[in-house]
Amino acid sequence: MNDALHAHELLSFDEVVAGYTSPVVGPVSFEVGPGEIVGLSGPNGSGKSTILRAITGQSRIFAGEVRRMQRLRITHQWQRPELPPELALLARELYALTGADPDSAPEHLRSLMSLPLNRLSGGQFQMIQSMACLNAPVDLVLMDEPTNNLDGRALELLSQMLKTKAPSKSVLLVSHEKAFLQDHCTRFVEMDA
C-alpha cells in the first residue's frame, strides 16, 4: 500500500487484484472521498468482503495499488459477527472498544447498553457493532452486509444513522440489497461474479 494520494481522497484502488492464497477479485479501481458513502454491490462470491479486507490488510494484494491517506483511521464492521454464548462484556463496553462514546449512542439503543452480550439477540449484537463502528472517531467506516439479521425497525435505525453521520466521515458499504444501497450511497462500484 502507498500513502501518496490526491488531497481530496481518503482511499483509492488502482487496478487491484486481491485474494488469499490465490486471487479472488479484480482488477478493481475506485476511490473514496471525504464524506462519501460508496456502495460495493455484486453477487455472492464476487469478492466484496475481500476488497474490504484488502484495505485492512487481512487479504493479500496480488497486483495494483491501494493508496490511503496518511494516518487514515478505520473501523470495520464484519459480516456475520459471532455472538459469544457466554461473556460478561456489556454492550456499553463493546461499544467503547472502537473509541466510540457509549453516551452518544442513539437514544433507542441506550436501553441495550447495560446488558451483557449474552442477553442480546444476533440482530441486536450486530446493531451495537455497526453503531460502534459508525460512531467511532475515524475517517472511514467499512460496513460488510450491515443489513443482514436486522428487522424492519433496526433497518430504519441503521438508515437514520447513515443519513446523520458526521459530514466528514466516509463509508464503504457492502450490501446485496440494492434498494438499501440506492437510498444511502453517493455512488456505486458494481462487481462481477
Binding site: 461473556l87 460478561a88 463496553e93 441495550l112 446488558l115 451483557p116 441486536q124 438499501f180
Partner: protein
C-alpha cells in the same frame, strides 16, 4: 513443626506459590475463554509436563525443560494458520503420551510423571515462588493495558492492523503470559489442577455477573476461594492436593445454576427490548 500442619513454616512457600499462581491462572483463564482458546491451556499444560519429565531424564532443571517444550508449542500455535481445538487436543495427547513414555526411562519416572500430570504442591521451592511472584507482578502491571487490546482484537479482528497499530507487542505479551502461567502452574501444581484453574473460575464468573472487570474479579475470587479451601482440606484430611483442588472447582461450577435465579430476578424478554430500543418501523426497505 506446629501442631496444625497448615501453619507449619515448611508449607509457607508452597502455599504462597500456589496462591499467587491461582490469581494469575484464574485471570489468564478469562482471556483464554474470551478468545475461545480455553482448550489450549490443556494442550500447553501437558506439553509443559512432557518438557518437565524430559528435563528430569536429561538431568537439567524441570522448569527449563517445561519452558522449552511449551515455548515450542506456543511458537507452533502462533505460526500455524487456523489453529483450533483439534490442534490443542493433539497437543494434549502428545504431551500426555510423551510424559509417561519418558517417565519409563528413569528411576521412579512413572511416579514423577504421574505427579506432574495429576498434581502436587508440597515440593515447591524458592525458584517456584520467585517465578510465581514475577508472573503475578507482570500480570498486574499489564492487565489494564492488555485486556482492552485483546477484547478489541476479539470483536474487531482487524482494527489494529487496519489502523497500523502494531499487533506484536500485545500478542507477544499475551502468549508469553499464557506460556509462563501454564509452565509454572504445571510444574508447581500439576497439569490438570493448572488446567482446572484456567478453565473453571471464568466459566462460572462469566455467567454470574455483568461487566468485564467484575467478571475478572469474580473469577479470581472463585479461584482463590477454591484454592484456600482445597489447601486446608488436603492437609487436614491428608489427601492429594491436585485432585482435591480440581474436585473443589468442579463442585463450585454448580454456582452456575445461580444464573437461573438472576434471570428470574431481572426478566427482560426479546420482545420487551425490541419495544424499548427501536422506533416504530416503517418497513421501508422490506417492501421493496
Amino acid at each position: 513443626m506446629s501442631e496444625w500442619p497448615l501453619f507449619d513454616p515448611i508449607f509457607r512457600i508452597p502455599f504462597f506459590t500456589g496462591l499467587l499462581l491461582t490469581v494469575s491462572l484464574s485471570l489468564i483463564g478469562a482471556w483464554l475463554r474470551m478468545r475461545n482458546e480455553w482448550l489450549a491451556a490443556l494442550g500447553l499444560s501437558h506439553m509443559a509436563a512432557a518438557g518437565g519429565i524430559a528435563a528430569a531424564v536429561l538431568h537439567i532443571p524441570p522448569l527449563a525443560g517445561a519452558f522449552t517444550a511449551t515455548g515450542l508449542a506456543t511458537c507452533a500455535r502462533v505460526a500455524l494458520p487456523r489453529v483450533g481445538n483439534s490442534h490443542y487436543g493433539i497437543m494434549m495427547l502428545a504431551g500426555w503420551s510423551f510424559t509417561f513414555i519418558m517417565g519409563s526411562y528413569m528411576d521412579h519416572g512413572f511416579v514423577v510423571a504421574e505427579t506432574l500430570v495429576r498434581g502436587q504442591l508440597y515440593f515447591t521451592y524458592a525458584p517456584h515462588l520467585l517465578g510465581a511472584l514475577v508472573l503475578f507482578a507482570v500480570l498486574l502491571a499489564l492487565v489494564s493495558w492488555l485486556s482492552p487490546k485483546l477484547l478489541t482484537a476479539r470483536f474487531f479482528p482487524d482494527y489494529h492492523q487496519a489502523n497500523r497499530i502494531p499487533v506484536w507487542p500485545y500478542a507477544t505479551a499475551y502468549h508469553a503470559l499464557v506460556m509462563a502461567a501454564t509452565v509454572l502452574g504445571t510444574i508447581s501444581m500439576g497439569a490438570f489442577p493448572a488446567f482446572a484453574l484456567l478453565f473453571i473460575p471464568s466459566w462460572i464468573g462469566f455467567v454470574l455477573v455483568d461487566g468485564w472487570n467484575r467478571s475478572l474479579r469474580l473469577s479470581v475470587c472463585i479461584g482463590v476461594t477454591a484454592y484456600i479451601i482445597s489447601f486446608a482440606l488436603a492437609m487436614m484430611v491428608d489427601l492429594p492436593f491436585g485432585p482435591v483442588l480440581t474436585a473443589m472447582l468442579v463442585c463450585m461450577s454448580s454456582l452456575r445454576l445461580l444464573t437461573a435465579l438472576r434471570r428470574q430476578s431481572t426478566p427482560v424478554s426479546g420482545d420487551e427490548l425490541q419495544r424499548n430500543y427501536l422506533p416504530p418501523a416503517t418497513e421501508k426497505f422490506r417492501s421493496r
